[in-house]
Amino acid sequence: MKLIIAAIKPFKLEEVREALTAIGVRGMMVTEIKGFGSQSGHTEIYRGAEYAVNFVPKVKLEIVVATSMAEQVVETIAATAKTDKIGDGKIFVLDVQSAVRVRTGEINDDAI
């Protein structure tokens, strides 16, 4: 199995979720994060003092899928989250050794 970690723009979340459901992804973990990257660094003024905004709000998806499915999931996210504007995000793939579904005790591919 693979753990797919993706940082995307918040307003893309719903679209990505629908696309993933469409290809059969049955679960994920979503976290609000502060992203730092090339998009960062524009400046704002607060009460007359200028300052750099280094973090931009992003959404992190963590999805565990069967190895066979991983590529498709990555492509789907990449396709759906794309706006061609800087800050679209990143997708990372890691190896998962095992998985358990708490409710049933099913393991690995059956668990996800």
């Binding site: 609000e32 502060k34 704002e44 003024i45 607060y46 009460r47 007359g48 003092a49 200028e50 300052y51 709000p57």
Partner: protein
């Protein structure tokens, strides 16, 4: 406030606070009034009007305590919010006690009768005698002077001004000062500093009698006094950690809850109608109630002028309007009109307020240049605009002289600033006024109080 009052004090001195005298008193009076006991005597009507006016404007000024609390709770960072709430509740409570125990007596020793000050002054014109406030007996006293208002209503109203002065200080020093040293200062401020200097003007003291100083509702006597005390504190306390980089870079520390800050501003705006309106001190004639109406209208338009000025200034200067500046701007307008809310026309009042709004927009970054860290902008609003408003009196009130105003501002400022500075230094030496670096980074809520303001909200 137009004129200081001999009579309340007379009353105070005259009457022991005879708690249980109630029924007798009531009976007496009832008897006196006889059949028509529910129709006021003609002579009582003006007294009822003015007294009731004080109670209503007084509760409006009380409400300002909630305004300062919300404004400050909204402009500090999440991790210092509980402490800011605590300080505001506590400072009002202590102000209430101290003004009762010391302040009211010190503040109203009474005006001189043909040049001679009553013995109620320890140092004629400069320092009143100590006495605890007490009210007329229950049921009122037969020999009450009916030309003014009840002592209770006057005390209630004046108390709120004292508390307002204290509220100003808490905002500037937020996010780094320890609770107790802060409260000790508040006790001294409300029990001594405020009432003593207030007696110079409103108590019929030197500034009023000799300098012809005019400060209708307290741009100087209340607001700049709070501002001076805050400035002294900010200098001794120093800025928040990481606020000013060596390279002169200023790190903004945005307020955590702007709706709260905006609510606070609206509360203050509302309370200010009482603050300025009640300072007419009389509502017993058509002329007085018409004047109070002028004051309400002028106070409102000055606030609007200040807000719009700040809105336009920040739009022009920064390309984006700054809400926190607009909130400060409205308050700046209110402070600016406070020294003379009666004589200006609506147009003049709007301009006086607008100038206040402009002042704030420049004063806030200016203080940062000086590395004076004023968390909520209380010094620009209450001190700078307090001075502006006091000087602006000469524009619409022929009785005011520029020098008279200026000298009075200087005397009050010097006294309050120096005394405050000394006290802050002593407090720093004796008990320490600042929390540890680690506590400051952790936040005062967890470090000092062990209680978060928003425990369930994760910090972004």
């Amino acid at each position: 406030m137009k004129l200081m009052k001999l009579l309340p004090l007379a009353a105070i001195i005259a009457l022991p606070c005879a708690g249980f005298a109630q029924d007798t008193a009531v009976v007496a009076e009832t008897a006196a009034a006889g059949v028509a006991d529910d129709t006021p005597q003609m002579a009582e009507i003006g007294y009822i009007f003015t007294t009731f006016m004080f109670l209503i404007t007084g509760f409006l000024v009380f409400w300002m305590a909630a305004g300062f609390t919300m404004l400050e709770a909204g402009l500090v960072r999440q991790k210092n919010t509980t402490m800011q709430l605590m300080k505001n509740v506590a400072l009002f409570s202590f102000a209430a006690l101290l003004y009762y125990a010391l302040g009211y007596g010190l503040m109203y020793p009474g005006a001189p009768a043909d040049g001679v000050y009553p013995d109620s002054w320890m140092i004629p014109g400069w320092l009143g005698a100590f006495s605890m406030a007490s009210l007329e007996q229950v049921g009122g006293s037969p020999d009450t002077d009916l030309t003014y208002a009840s002592v209770g209503s006057d005390f209630f109203f004046q108390l709120m001004f004292c508390a307002t002065t204290a509220s100003i200080v808490s905002g500037t020093l937020a996010e780094r000062i320890k609770l107790w040293p802060f409260l000790v200062f508040i006790i001294i401020l409300t029990g001594l500093i405020y009432p003593i200097q207030a007696s110079w003007k409103w108590g019929g003291g030197y500034l009023n009698e000799t300098l012809g100083f005019l400060d209708f509702a307290g741009s100087t006597v209340v607001h700049s006094v709070g501002g001076w005390a805050a400035l002294a504190g900010a200098l001794i306390l120093g800025p928040r950690l990481g606020r000013y980089g060596r390279d002169g870079r200023v790190t903004p520390m945005p307020g955590a809850n702007l709706p709260l800050a905006t609510l606070g501003m609206f509360i203050l705006w509302l309370g200010w109608f009482g603050f300025n309106g009640g300072s007419q001190l009389y509502m017993d004639t058509a002329g007085n109630v018409a004047d109070i109406s002028r004051i309400f209208a002028n106070t409102n338009t000055a606030a609007a002028g200040g807000a719009i000025a700040a809105l336009i200034m920040t739009q022009v200067m920064y390309g984006k309007p700054d809400l926190t500046m607009v909130l400060n701007g409205a308050l700046a307008g209110l402070v600016s009109i406070t020294a003379e809310p009666l004589t200006p026309s609506l147009g003049a009042a709007t301009l006086i307020g607008a100038v206040g709004g402009v002042i704030v927009v420049f004063a806030v970054p200016f203080l940062d240049k000086l590395k004076i860290d004023d968390v909520v902008g209380a010094i620009p609003v209450h001190l700078f605009c307090g001075i502006w408003g006091t000087l602006a009196v000469v524009l619409t009130n022929g009785d005011a002289t520029f020098m008279g105003q200026l000298i009075s501002i200087a005397i009050v400022g010097a006294f309050v600033f120096v005394v405050s500075l000394v006290i802050w230094v002593i407090l720093k030496a004796v008990m320490g006024i600042r929390v540890s670096e680690e506590d400051e980074m952790t936040g005062l809520d967890v470090a000092e109080l062990g209680m978060e303001a928003y425990p369930e909200f994760s910090k972004g």
